[in-house]
């Protein structure tokens, strides 16, 4: 048997996961092929590379990060939830706000798009009309995002943020809503997701300005750390100044201060 054929079997042979019959084939080949035998020998020799131990400070850094996260969550939970809107009677279009309805909307719009697309091609309509249809569909989805961001339930707001990530371009209105979510949503997770979604639109001045401003007003240490990381990636000219201001804030969480100092070093 040739080395090429053995090459397919060797990785499983090396891990001892090759069935017996095939293992015997490999062993026969190895007995007569010095190079393949040497491959096996070097694989085994890799055992000589000992594991390296992470430093003791690593656990402490992790613990500080976790405490910062928990502190942020507890602070968010301590804030009273906005009072539920009185609902004397079910509103006519409430069902349209549920995620399921969102999905149904999406599907309906998709079907409509496919139907319209095929109809248009039949009538040799211009591509401009197809583009208009796509834009219409995108607007519908963005409306849905806006509506879902207002929901009481954090999981629905999270879903809204994730819906927004499907759009390549977002209307300024939706970007504003996401920035508002980043600043003041009661859930840390929704704020983090909003930051993630906004990072896709960093070419927009509105987004860069809004995210930079959020750094000072943010209360959750974990979101602050995420903001620092994001802003470091963008490297806006006034970032160093902003970080210095943050670092000097009284009562700043130690992990956040450490992250800001780390980011400042990276900027030098």
């Amino acid at each position: 048997m040739k080395c090429d054929r053995i090459a397919e079997l060797l990785p499983d042979f090396l891990r001892g996961t090759l069935e017996r019959e095939r293992s015997e084939v490999v062993e026969q080949h190895l007995a007569g092929c010095a190079e393949c035998r040497d491959d096996v020998a070097v694989w085994k020799k890799l055992d000589l590379l000992p594991a390296v131990e992470p430093g003791a400070a690593s656990r402490e850094r992790f613990q500080a990060m976790l405490l910062a996260y928990q502190a942020g969550r507890e602070a968010a939970e301590a804030q009273p939830e906005p009072a539920a809107q009185p609902r004397p009677r079910a509103r006519k279009f409430d069902w349209m706000r549920s995620p399921l309805a969102g999905l149904a909307w999406g599907l309906a719009m998709l079907l409509l798009g496919v139907f319209a697309g095929s109809a248009m091609s039949r009538f040799h309509s211009s591509t401009e009309e197809a583009a208009a249809m796509r834009s219409e569909l995108s607007s519908m989805r963005q409306l849905l995002v806006l509506s879902m961001l207002q929901q009481q339930s954090a999981s629905e707001r999270l879903q809204a943020v994730s819906y927004s990530q499907r759009e390549e371009r977002l209307d300024p209105q939706v970007l504003s809503a996401l920035l508002r979510t980043l600043r003041s949503d009661s859930s840390v997770d929704v704020r983090l997701a909003a930051l993630e979604a906004l990072s896709q639109h960093h070419s927009q001045a509105q987004v860069r300005r809004g995210v930079t401003d959020a750094l000072q007003s943010q209360q959750s240490p974990l979101v602050q750390v995420a903001l620092i990381d994001q802003l470091l990636e963008w490297r806006d000219p006034d970032l160093a100044e902003r970080l210095r201001q943050l670092e000097q804030s009284a009562g700043l969480n130690p992990t956040v201060r450490e992250r800001a100092q780390w980011a400042l070093r990276k900027l030098q």
Binding site: E35, V42, V52, R61, M65, L158
Partner: protein
């Protein structure tokens, strides 16, 4: 992980204790820089908190965490490209029970691994040290199972060639600097 996903963030400590050493070794072998490896491990656990909602219950956790680890490394070096440097402290430490020859071979293997292109080094490390199945590696790298096995084999062949070449170099120079360094290190001298 399910508990972490459901908001019990203190359970992340259990995951940290279980995975920090394998992840640290993954990075250390891959990038050869202790400080960067420690930073990256912290980044992985921060990302687990941030993206925990994206973990699908019932799916294996190990490939998920390695996906995060690969993305974290990618982003880290996108922000600040790696400086090629060999950190002597990342080389295998001398262990009293090791024979001088074994130590020398470990050091040569370490160097041979560093000589491989990054994609080959990574797949070898994933397959050899990180306890991932080939199917899981295929999922991580976004390729077919057979492609993973082929790539592991090619990487191993290249490692073997690099290792034997380095070994020849040492023999050719009559023991060479690596052997001398090692014997000095064993005898407790500063090198």
């Amino acid at each position: 992980m399910l508990q972490v996903r459901n908001g019990e963030s203190e359970m992340l400590g259990v995951l940290f204790d279980r995975y920090q050493a394998p992840l640290f070794n993954f990075y250390a072998r891959l990038v050869g820089d202790r400080g960067a490896s420690e930073d990256l491990v912290q980044e992985v656990f921060l990302r687990i908190l941030r993206y925990r909602a994206s973990y699908q219950p019932g799916t294996p956790f190990r490939p998920w965490i390695y996906q995060i680890a690969r993305n974290a490394r990618f982003d880290h070096y996108r922000k600040s490209p790696p400086q090629e440097r060999f950190q002597p402290e990342m080389a295998p430490p001398a262990a009293a029970q090791d024979s001088a020859q074994q130590e020398q071979q470990a050091e040569l293997l370490h160097r041979a691994l560093r000589e491989l292109p990054e994609d080959k080094r990574e797949i070898l490390i994933l397959a050899r040290f990180q306890e991932l199945k080939y199917e899981e590696i295929a999922g991580l790298l976004g390729c077919e199972l057979n492609a993973v096995k082929t790539r592991v084999h090619r990487a191993l062949v290249d490692l073997r060639k690099a290792f034997r070449r380095l070994e020849q170099g040492i023999r050719g120079s009559g023991g060479g600097s690596a052997a001398t360094d090692l014997s000095l290190r064993r005898s407790g001298h500063e090198v």
